[in-house]
């Protein structure tokens, strides 16, 4: 087991800069998600760590050992591919045994280790099957068993749950997390699914256009995004744009919004504020908002989407549509077209420098 250090890695394909000076430290035993839209460079970064491709500049180390020019077969990594990439001409057991067998390990010990790996992914009885006889979820488990049976230093997963349906996905998320904890392997996980990144990982790195936008624990990125992109890509956010005032921003119409966290910006600089939809209180104006909700705006409900445990209100205000999520507490629901007052606390507001 080992940590992975990526330092100042850049990689271009022709004129396209797929990775632009990316540095991340993946601590030993952690579960990391690399999150980003397609084309953000997350898969390119994973392939650099795996060794399928080498960086133009920069350094990659696994367990302190520089590997940026070591080919994949010598890196001792385990990888799970998006479409599983199981060998169709081999049985499940032979698939799992492949990595041990190319290393020339004795047959008897291979059989025992394969069985242990299959038991770990709860497929102990299916060793004799062919990949095409398995369901998607089972193939996923075989791919995982095959990747970990060689005791790799780091486990790399390229959108491993992308091909599964929703219910199976949730099962596999829990399962993957359990197995990762059980063997304590450093795991780097590429996904474009923000929910998956939030629920599974210890830390998230958000990539955009080949650059690392923000990196940290899920709670930190969610609560204190450092860019509009991070705020809107990881979860939903209402973004207000205006000029910095010292403790918030002033909107073009003169309304001020106070923010408790964020960088200190020179007054008058272009800046934004981000507020999560579930932090905003919505009322008809008759009721008084909570005392510490210093930020208030007036608007009009343009649409309500009822989703059972909560409702999402779209509120029009000065040409902008704001999103508010209200838990279903049995309180009176607001009608479309109704004038409302929105209020929220500066503690729920993050100041963001204009990017």
């Amino acid at each position: 087991m080992a940590g992975v250090q990526v330092a100042n890695v850049s990689r271009s394909f022709g004129a396209h800069r797929a990775l632009d000076n990316v540095s991340i430290d993946f601590a030993d035993g952690g579960f990391y998600a690399l999150l980003g839209p397609s084309g953000s460079g997350k898969t390119t970064l994973l392939r650099q760590i795996a060794g399928f491709d080498f960086p133009d500049t920069g350094r990659i180390a696994i367990g302190g050992e520089s590997v940026e020019r070591v080919p994949v077969e010598k890196r001792r990594i385990g990888m799970v591919f998006q479409n599983y990439a199981l060998f169709p001409n081999m049985s499940v057991a032979d698939n799992v045994a492949f990595g041990l067998s190319v290393r020339g390990e004795p047959k008897a010990s291979i059989a025992a280790e394969v069985q242990r790996a299959l038991d770990l992914v709860q497929l102990g009885k299916l060793g004799g099957r062919r990949p095409h006889q398995l369901s998607g979820g089972q193939r996923q488990r075989v791919a995982l068993a095959r990747a970990i049976v060689t005791k790799p230093r780091v486990l790399l997963l390229d959108e491993p749950l992308g091909a599964l349906d929703k219910a199976l996905r949730v099962d596999m998320q829990i399962e993957l997390k359990r197995i990762q904890r059980e063997i304590g392997i450093t795991t780097i996980f590429v996904t474009h699914d923000q929910e998956e990144a939030l629920t599974m990982s210890d830390r998230i790195g958000i990539l955009r256009d080949g650059r690392l936008v923000q990196e940290g624990p899920p709670e930190e990125i969610y609560d204190r995004p450092q860019s509009e992109f991070a705020a809107t890509f990881l979860g939903d956010a209402n973004i207000f744009r205006g000029d910095a005032t010292g403790n918030g921003i002033r909107l073009p119409d003169g309304t001020t919004i106070a923010a408790a966290s964020g960088p200190s910006l020179a007054a008058g600089a272009r800046a934004s504020c981000a507020v999560r939809p579930e932090r905003i209180q919505i009322s008809t104006g008759a009721a008084k908002p909570d005392a510490d909700n210093a930020n208030t705006l007036k608007g009009q409900v343009s649409k309500r989407i009822f989703a059972g445990n909560n409702s999402t209100y779209f509120v029009d205000r000065d040409g902008q549509t704001l999103k508010v999520i209200v838990q279903n507490t049995g309180a009176e629901r607001l009608a479309e077209g109704q004038p409302v007052v929105l209020s929220w606390s500066p503690d729920s507001t993050v100041l963001i420098a204009a990017g």
């Binding site: 990439a85 001409n89 990595g99 190319v102």
Partner: protein, 262 residues
């Protein structure tokens, strides 16, 4: 209901006609190889004399062995070279690859008469001349594009992640090819080999240009024999060849489900 029955009936007729078109001449030839009359007189009088006299025809037997030998060696060389070339074209990017790829296929469309003439001139120019070696070289050149086409087509269905997965598990290039890629393309390799064998064994035009009277192949020998005067021995040798090659084809089709297996 009635229309479907008529359509079904028409379909059956079509199949019967098609098979008749393909096999009737062959069946008649096979029957005549057992007919005592050398002038195809009916009714058929059963005899195996032609097979017996075939056994005495040293020239025909020598040519048959030449043909088999050349076809087998051609198959081995063309299949190995062609499969290796397909793999290289699939995996590697190098300058001029597109041009090379484009140049590999037109030989299939060039008339054999022209290829044969060109080879004859070329082999004389470089001092190989005519004979079995020249025939072998010519056949390999003719068969290579067929192997390439068939194996490349099979490789198009190969998922490149499989090679990546094998490498990530620590397999070197040799192990990747041997244990992952080759098993996948094997039906294509076998089919390519069969094509190579057929191209060589059937080859008349190029062999005719490159053979000398003592060193010749079966099709050329048969042609020479017909010009001297047709004997039912030719029917006999043809029947043997047809039975053997059909058996070979059926066996391969049985053991390697072409394209059927996923």
């Amino acid at each position: 209901m009635a229309t479907t029955r008529i359509l079904e009936w028409l379909g059956r007729c079509y199949i019967v006609l098609l098979l008749g078109f393909l096999y009737l001449p062959i069946i008649i030839m096979a029957l005549m190889s057992f007919n005592a009359s050398p002038f195809y007189q009916l009714p058929l009088e059963w005899t195996t004399d032609w097979y017996a006299s075939l056994w005495q025809n040293d020239q025909l037997i020598a040519a048959t062995w030449n043909s088999i030998e050349i076809a087998v060696i051609t198959t081995v060389i063309a299949t190995v070279l062609g499969s290796a070339a397909s793999l290289a074209l699939y995996r590697c990017d190098f300058p001029g690859k597109k041009v090379l790829q484009a140049l590999l296929f037109p030989p299939i469309a060039i008339p054999w008469l022209i290829t044969g003439t060109a080879m004859l001139i070329f082999f004389f120019g470089i001092g190989i001349g005519r004979g079995l070696v020249a025939i072998l070289l010519g056949h390999v050149a003719l068969a290579l594009p067929y192997v390439l086409v068939v194996v490349s087509a099979r490789l198009q269905t190969f998922a490149p992640e499989l090679e990546e997965a094998a490498r990530s598990l620590g397999a070197n290039q040799w192990q990747v090819t041997n244990r992952v890629t080759l098993p996948w393309i094997m039906p294509g390799v076998i089919a390519g080999g069969l094509f190579a064998f057929a191209v060589s064994f059937d080859q008349f035009v190029v062999s005719y240009f490159l053979s000398t009277p003592g060193q010749t192949t079966l099709p050329v020998e048969i042609y020479a024999a017909i010009r001297k005067g047709f004997t039912p021995e030719i029917n006999a040798v043809s029947t043997i060849i047809i039975v053997v090659s059909m058996a070979l084809m059926l066996l391969t089709a049985r053991f390697f489900k072409f394209g059927g297996e996923k």
